[in-house]
């Protein structure tokens, strides 16, 4: 029960309390660019959630088994190369390069999957699907997982379940934010916005008010932790 409580806390934290867009400012580019219509916004949210989960799973596997100090596979290869040595091999300098490789491959994978099974959706996405590679949110999820895996002792090490929950619900939080923003922008189309603020200016101000609203979730994790205990 304790483990499930931790998973619920991570999920609620990633989606609402520490919302990726409105608190950590990652994923702003699609948030500003794709949030004009509700259906494209929801589609983008789902695509980002899918890619974030795939990329997080792959990057957790690479970090846990190869990159972190004392990783199993690297230690085994090192023991073959120089047996009897008790040096701890630490490949974590390659972290960022491996993560960006993993993200590019995940986006390729998802693109092939969507093109095969949802061809109409693929057509409507156009150029935005490959652009998810430069989405800060995905690399940010990988970095958050790296914080809890690389250099963490066995007690606070994050398994694949916590990593996937963080990534998936981070994507869900991104989807919530972008869908709310799309709904508001559709209403804004009928308003008389001053000329200098049209486009990105008014969107950022609305995002600021949204961030203010989401600040109301602070402290929910403490109360939730007390409730689940």
């Amino acid at each position: 029960m304790e483990h499930v409580a931790q998973l619920i806390l991570i999920a609620v934290g990633a989606a609402l309390i520490n919302n990726f867009v409105l608190k950590y400012f990652v994923g702003i580019c699609p948030f500003l660019g794709v949030s004009r219509r509700l259906d494209t916004a929801f589609g983008m949210g789902c695509a980002v959630t899918f890619v974030i989960s795939v990329a997080a799973a792959l990057s957790w596997t690479c970090t846990y088994f190869i990159l972190r100090p004392g990783a199993p596979l690297t230690a085994w290869v090192w023991s073959l190369v120089s047996p009897g040595s008790d040096a701890v091999v630490d490949l974590s300098i390659l972290n960022y390069i491996v993560y960006i490789f993993v993200i590019a491959s995940s986006v390729q994978l998802v693109e092939m999957y969507v093109r095969k099974f949802f061809p109409s959706l693929y057509k409507s996405f156009g150029v935005f699907l490959p652009l998810i590679t430069t989405n800060c949110a995905i690399l940010f999820a990988c970095l958050e997982i790296m914080k809890h895996v690389s250099g963490a002792g066995p007690a606070e090490m994050w398994g694949l379940d916590k990593a996937l929950i963080l990534a998936f619900f981070g994507g869900v939080g991104f989807t919530i934010a972008i869908v709310i923003m799309a709904g508001i922008r559709e209403e804004l189309d009928a308003c008389d916005v001053p000329a200098p603020l049209r486009g990105a200016g008014i969107t950022l101000i609305v995002a600021g008010i949204l961030a203010l609203a989401f600040m109301g979730f602070t402290g929910v994790d403490k109360s939730l932790a007390d409730l689940l205990r």
Binding site: F101, P196, I202, T203, M215
Partner: protein
């Protein structure tokens, strides 16, 4: 090889104000919002981005004839990731408190749209001098944008500038703490973008570039 496209001097001048990466091209919003709660983190981030942009532009321009078209974005990103690793380790070694303040936003320079966009638009098509001038111009423009936003947020939110106390020291209740939090970042950037567009259109017709996001 003939150098088609803007000259190095034009690239340099364009990067500062006419094609300012934040106010005109609307790129690199993530670090702009995240690290501008104070002038010191903002300037450190500007220095890191300048280092990565200059090095990545130079390398990309030197290998521009060897790039396969469908793999070029991956090659740009791997080059940028290498230099970001160098910058991140350097900051962790020599400026540990500042590295903690900047947190995950230094590795996020890898997916910063400014650098990938400049590699794609300029460095992969022009010779090293033009790419270098473009990188320096864009870095100065980015630093200018960060400085304006960070000054507003720090002075209103904390009464200091670069850590030096200016106003409202002793009367803490006038500090607008919201400016240091995420909503303040969004609202400041939105209003400053509006101001930049208004100044641009008042100076004549440049607001067209700023409206390309519509």
């Amino acid at each position: 090889m003939p150098n088609d496209g803007p000259t190095p001097l034009e690239r340099f001048i364009n990067g500062i104000l006419p094609e300012n990466p934040v106010y005109r091209l609307l790129l690199g919003m993530c670090p702009t919002l995240a690290v501008t709660s104070g002038m010191k983190p903002a300037m450190t981030m500007a220095a890191a981005v300048a280092f990565v942009l200059i090095c990545a532009n130079l390398i990309t321009s030197l290998i521009r004839n060897l790039l396969k078209p469908h793999l070029r974005i991956l090659v740009f990103t791997l080059t940028i990731a290498t230099f970001v690793t160098i910058a991140d380790r350097f900051l962790q070694a020599y400026a540990w408190p500042m590295s903690k303040v900047l947190g995950p936003y230094v590795p996020l320079i890898i997916v910063n749209c400014i650098i990938i966009c400049r590699c794609e638009v300029c460095a992969s098509k022009q010779s090293p001098p033009a790419a270098l001038a473009d990188a320096i111009g864009q870095s100065i423009g980015f630093a200018l944008a960060l400085a304006t936003i960070a000054s507003v947020r720090e002075i209103l939110g904390d009464g200091t500038w670069m850590g030096l106390p200016l106003i409202w020291q002793g009367s803490e209740q006038y500090k607008w703490v919201l400016m240091l939090l995420p909503p303040g970042a969004f609202i400041t950037l939105g209003l400053l973008l509006g101001a930049a567009n208004w100044i641009g259109s008042a100076l004549g017709g440049r607001a067209k570039a700023g409206r390309s996001a519509e």
